[in-house]
Assembly symmetry: C2
Homo-oligomer: 425 residues x 2
């Protein structure tokens, strides 16, 4: 791609007026974003800014910190729009080109997350908009390490996931050298970031696959926001909470270093498992409500266990109904995936829904862009999925179509780029 | 599709608490929505509601009226998410089945737009959410009239659009007997409506094509919200305003009747032209900012004409630059499409952007779901597109891939269903 693009030197903050120091909603991510330059409006042939000062809502004004112990987009509240995209390094590109790319990407991500324009050739798509909780998260796939000569620094946690009997994976939409997750509460802000990062890739990397997702818009539901998936189920009930004492231990690689010195670059990082899980919605919708709730083990309306209570009430897994059978069936999804049934395995599920119109089979090509985070996939996703693979009642209604596992390095310190401790360490 | 689905008799308003009588944002649509039943929570196996009372933002709480002189979704402010879908009547289905379908669809649309559940077998996807400015808009394609034996009542305004030399239309994604437009400020509310309407179709109609779109989220930008497309251009600047005296005449068929008595059913209706316009974004992004602005005739940052001023300043089409050429080039998109260059032709452009990942050519499969509204396509879309087809500088960067023209009947009166005046008149 040529770099003759227009170079709009407009501070979006200038166009917007002063946005105010809205922090990341809900969760402090650590670190602080740098001071925001209010660059002059120039080069557009127009001397006037639109000046919609002060009228952004919190949806537009909320800014998530780029720097910190962990990358943004892991504990950040779910955003309304998301893109996930995998890149492969171009033939001939190695460690040097990868380091330069991560430096460019980090610079772009830092600026866009602050509501500024891209460093060069901004497309203008996000002009007028605030940061809108934009996050950009970068990860490395298994193949990245061979291609960059960094095989010795590849953690064993990145070993390929085992095969699951119910998988129907499309290799073209799986894996990849580099993975980027983009989230924002505005669709144009998210698309703008995707295009800017794609442009940054230049000749160093090319897109392997790319998927789009969505979640509820902030304010569409009451507080706290209940996540629902496209089957209508409350989603994410069992997620570990950042307030729990062992949250960091479960989700993030220890900052002190994860073992051998050559893996120390992952201290503070996390592992993401990414799966496109198509939902067979026409089949699902033919089930009665009672049947659906037996499959899940929870009520649809509130997410409460079939043994009673509310969404966060613990399941009574031993409770027997009048028919002599467990109230929560032995193959219910909620039972099988419960941490207490999996040696305390825990992962932070942070998915997007996807909907790509009608599939070639005439049914909706829709489902869940499943993204989960953990310090070690072998103690998070893998044992749970092994068990689901054997006996989950839900598996008749879903299909895992793609899979990726990525090492997501820690958040960058000020002046650092994401992955620098790997690429220059 | 069987109708054995669960029948969740939950009022979403009950779950949400009282939402308050938030009217349609921005534009009064006429008419009033009916009283809202607060049906009892039953049949879900749970006796408790989540009760997130009072915490919806205006994004979630805003409700658009189903009844009125005109259907919703025409002058309603742009929503963040959209679906457009065309159905063909099933073999053997005729006027009777079509009338029953429109009755089912209208009942569902009325209820969902009020934040209630679907009449039967609600999927639960929108539980917890407010109406979120949901609109559902129904139209009839040219082929609908033959299939229902209503050929004599088909207005000539529905005659097929002329061929345009730059068109690259895919017949499979064009036209259709019935057309439905769904918009909402929450992605799950929109998807919920799409699924409910698809289910209503039952054996009477099947999906011909279906597309997804998006716009800015409310609050992401300052007020007034500036629409931008995926090329980064301000979009919709030249739109007629509802406050203008001839707005109704240009956009809606006269309520008194559009001519012959057999077309009186369209009084108060409008005609929608729907085109999937792919943007060749990789090519576009290789142009300099100056080149892009010459193609459009407006500045990118503010949408102001190249002859100066702000977004709403009139273009000085006769102004000559120091190089002896018109400041707004003779083939600039804004010049060619200007109403004053087209005998006052006016249409209300109300598009969504689309982004369906990466196309088979490796470039973004993204662009504009162009939707425009007018009382008569021969005095709206057709003359403008004829002119653009001949000499628009923008045409090198876009590709019209699908096309549809639909007669969108007036809004229903209380107790009436959409299209009743055609189907039972």
């Amino acid at each position: 791609m040529t770099e003759s693009n227009p170079d709009i030197e407009i501070s979006r903050r200038r166009l917007l007026g002063t946005v105010g120091a809205a922090g990341a909603a809900g969760l402090a991510l650590g670190g602080a974003s740098g001071a925001l330059a209010h660059s002059a409006l120039a080069g557009s042939g127009s001397g006037s800014a639109t000046g919609a000062a002060g009228s952004l809502s919190s949806l537009g004004a909320t800014q998530v910190a780029f720097h910190g112990d962990h990358q943004a987009g892991i504990t950040t509240p779910l955003q309304a729009k998301g893109h996930v995209v995998a890149f492969d390094l171009a033939p001939g590109a190695g460690r040097t080109e990868a380091a330069a790319l991560l430096r460019r990407w980090s610079d772009t991500a830092r600026r866009l997350m602050a509501g500024e324009t891209a460093p060069t050739a901004d497309s203008g798509i996000a002009l007028d908009a605030g940061p809108s909780s934009l996050t950009v998260t970068f990860g490395f796939g298994h193949s990245f390490f061979e291609r960059t000569g960094l095989g010795a620094r590849r953690p064993s946690a990145l070993d390929p996931l085992p095969d699951f009997s119910s998988d129907r994976l499309d290799a073209q939409r799986s894996n990849g050298d580099l993975w980027v997750q983009i989230g924002a509460n505005d669709g144009l802000v998210a698309f703008h970031a995707l295009r800017a990062l794609q442009k940054d890739a230049g000749d160093a990397a090319r897109i392997r696959w790319q998927m789009n997702g969505f979640n509820r818009s902030p304010g569409a539901t009451g507080t706290p926001m209940t996540a629902r998936n496209l089957m209508g189920q409350v989603d994410g009930t069992g997620n570990p909470k950042p307030s729990e004492p062992d949250f960091d231990k479960r989700i993030f690689v220890p900052a002190a270093g994860p073992g051998p010195a050559e893996h120390a670059w992952m201290g503070g990082g996390s592992y993401a498992v990414v799966r496109r899980i198509r939902m067979l919605l026409d089949d699902w919708d033919k089930q009665s409500l009672a049947q659906q709730e037996q499959v899940i083990g929870r009520t649809k309306a509130t997410g409460a266990p079939l043994t009673g209570g509310g969404e966060t009430t613990e399941m009574e897994l031993d409770k027997i109904g009048p028919d002599g059978k467990p109230v929560i069936p032995s193959n219910a999804h909620a039972r099988i995936s419960a941490p207490e049934q999996n040696g305390g395995a825990a992962m932070l599920r942070r998915p997007f829904s996807f909907h790509d119109g009608i599939g070639s089979d005439g049914a909706p090509d829709a489902g869940l862009l499943f993204i989960c985070w953990q310090a070690d996939p072998l103690r998070g996703f893998v044992p749970v999925q092994r068990k689901l693979d054997r006996g989950d009642a839900l598996s008749a209604f879903i299909r895992h179509e793609s899979s990726g596992l990525y090492a997501v390095p820690p958040g960058p310190r000020s002046g650092e780029y994401v992955g620098q401790r790997l690429l220059e360490g």
